[in-house]
Symmetry: C2
């Protein structure tokens, strides 16, 4: 037995290493990325802006300018506070570290897997409550688990990943009201959703929002944010590692997020394409397409593994779910640009043809 | 009482927010940054390289190319594993999370403050053992505390910050041999030091090294690395958040770290300047300059606060220590470029003159 096997806690050793599939030269519709690059006419001034950044110096520790850029892009009211992280993941870890060891984290299932994973990393208990057959929150079930486990932290993805739907608003409000937990509503896909809880944050002191720019064209920057009352954010900020947002991410966000109209226009293209894919796929026999408020669609097929392999061999990467009974024979399709979506439609028609 | 004051653990609420002094238009000799920018003749091809990176896609999760670039820059043997973090801080947090709640983290004092801070964040106990009057490890004291507290994790900065010295090598080896802890030798300043434990990692399964490129010209990139046996790194990697190193940091490291000769030449300039500053300052009456293997000097003066304010009012920012009795009336001076150092020498002579 090696040193590390004796030394490291067993629950971490038991984790299987995270596998990222090879995607070179593939049409990449597996990871909820935006298909849009930085506009060509911006690239030159963007690079000039980057070139003026002194890489030998530590970043701005408070990243005030980035916060302003995000406030302005996302219409975040001044009365709310903003806390930045390297992607949502670092912020999920931060609020998890804010808890005491052994506290319970509650979420619904299926949802974003990192809620459970990071609960384990930070030595918290995790309790999942299954969604119903329509992937809607089982409110009674959640409220019962709240009474039973007294969770310290509740994560609700809105819209939800990987199901794509935005849960019933009243159910979420009931959870916020009935629990003494910190409720983290994860709005990673807000740009593609009709609803948001941004205007509720000021009404409920136990509500914070998680957002990211990863799904809006900037997955490479790894920039997420937590939005809450000024007081809540000021206290949670004490757990942030200093200088966590590096200089190039800061400069890029400062420059690129000013293109609000362009970012919104890109999101609207995806929303239109989502509708087109939904309509065309729904019209195909044998497929069930679930309604989506995100930049992806969950699709139930006859044999997800076979379809996944067929698409892959034709150069298209999607996500297939095989292990989870709630998602059996489902694939998750990120909405690409029109030509990528056409290629997907052509291939799936070939497959079923 | 607000929600967050009821909700958040008290030891975090008690933390005073980290204060970063304003430094605009100052000669910045407070943060161990390298004074050297990217060479002018590289900037254009660097920017072209960055422009080819798709920001809309998630980063390479494994960051293999960055690992190779670091291996080659730092002569890391193939048989060792490398784990990347957003600065050393994220890696200190990662190894701390690998422990069980309530485990003890041991370090010497004064040293890098984040060992203790992150122990608190991750709900571990922290035990410091005072250095002796020459800022050397009190080996008997450390061994006694190892017996008493059975630490799970021991951090030893080599060279040490803020004292600048590299501790006695035999003392560190004795600690590695006598303890069942994971020993993290933090070589943040290795580029300026005569010694390293890199060649010892293969000999001691409980030894890992922490390094960073922050002190070598790239503080803005926030890129740190943990070096250990392949087996140790593979297990610890399970605690790494996926995609933690963003695309621009990866691309920048891949491109910029290839300039090994240039990076070493810059380090050698700093080593020469450190000697020049040491000699000139030692020759001044009333100053005690401590030997340094890092890119900074610890200097004991008659009144650190007064000197700090004088330098600041003359446009030079250093770090002064006022609270810690072991560092009373000490300032820490980062070695700058020759003209910055000349300006510092002129001002300190004015002050004492």
């Amino acid at each position: 037995m090696t040193f590390i096997n004796k030394w490291l806690r067993a629950d971490i050793q038991d984790i299987k290493a995270y596998h990222v599939p090879k995607s070179e030269h593939m049409i990449k519709l597996d990871a909820m990325e935006s298909p849009f690059l930085i506009p060509k006419d911006l690239v030159k001034s963007y690079l000039t802006y980057l070139s003026e950044v002194p890489l030998n110096r530590y970043p701005d520790a408070g990243a005030e300018e980035v916060q302003q850029a995000l406030r302005s892009l996302m219409d975040i009211p001044d009365k709310l506070g903003v806390l930045l992280g390297n992607g949502s993941d670092e912020l999920i870890q931060l609020v998890s570290l804010a808890c005491e060891t052994g506290d319970t984290v509650l979420s619904v299932e299926p949802s974003f897997v990192m809620y459970e994973m990071i609960a384990k990393f930070t030595r918290l208990n995790y309790q999942g409550v299954l969604l119903d057959d329509n992937y809607e929150i089982n409110l009674n079930g959640v409220l019962e688990e709240i009474t039973r486990t007294q969770p310290k932290l509740i994560f609700i993805a809105y819209p939800n990943n990987p199901t794509g739907n935005a849960f019933d608003r009243e159910s979420i409000l009931a959870i916020i009201k009935e629990s003494e937990a910190l409720i983290v509503v994860d709005e990673a896909y807000y740009a593609y959703s009709e609803g948001s809880f941004l205007n509720e944050v000021a009404n409920y002191p136990n509500l914070v929002l998680l957002r990211t720019i990863s799904k809006m064209g900037f997955a490479g920057l790894r920039l997420g944010l937590l939005i809450g009352s000024q007081n809540t954010i000021r206290e949670l900020d004490k757990l942030r590692l200093p200088y966590n947002i590096n200089t190039l991410t800061q400069a890029s966000a400062n420059f690129l997020l000013k293109e609000k109209d362009h970012i919104i226009a890109n999101a609207n293209i995806i929303i239109d394409e989502r509708q087109r894919l939904f309509d065309e796929l729904t019209a195909m026999p044998g497929l069930k397409v679930f309604p989506s408020q995100a930049n992806f669609l969950l699709i139930k097929v006859d044999d997800a593994k076979s379809l996944f392999e067929f698409l892959k061999s034709n150069g298209i990467l999607v996500k297939s779910f095989t292990m989870n009974p709630q998602l059996s024979n489902c694939i998750r399709l990120t909405v690409g640009n029109p030509s990528e979506n056409n290629e997907f439609l052509e291939q799936i028609k070939n497959y079923y043809g």
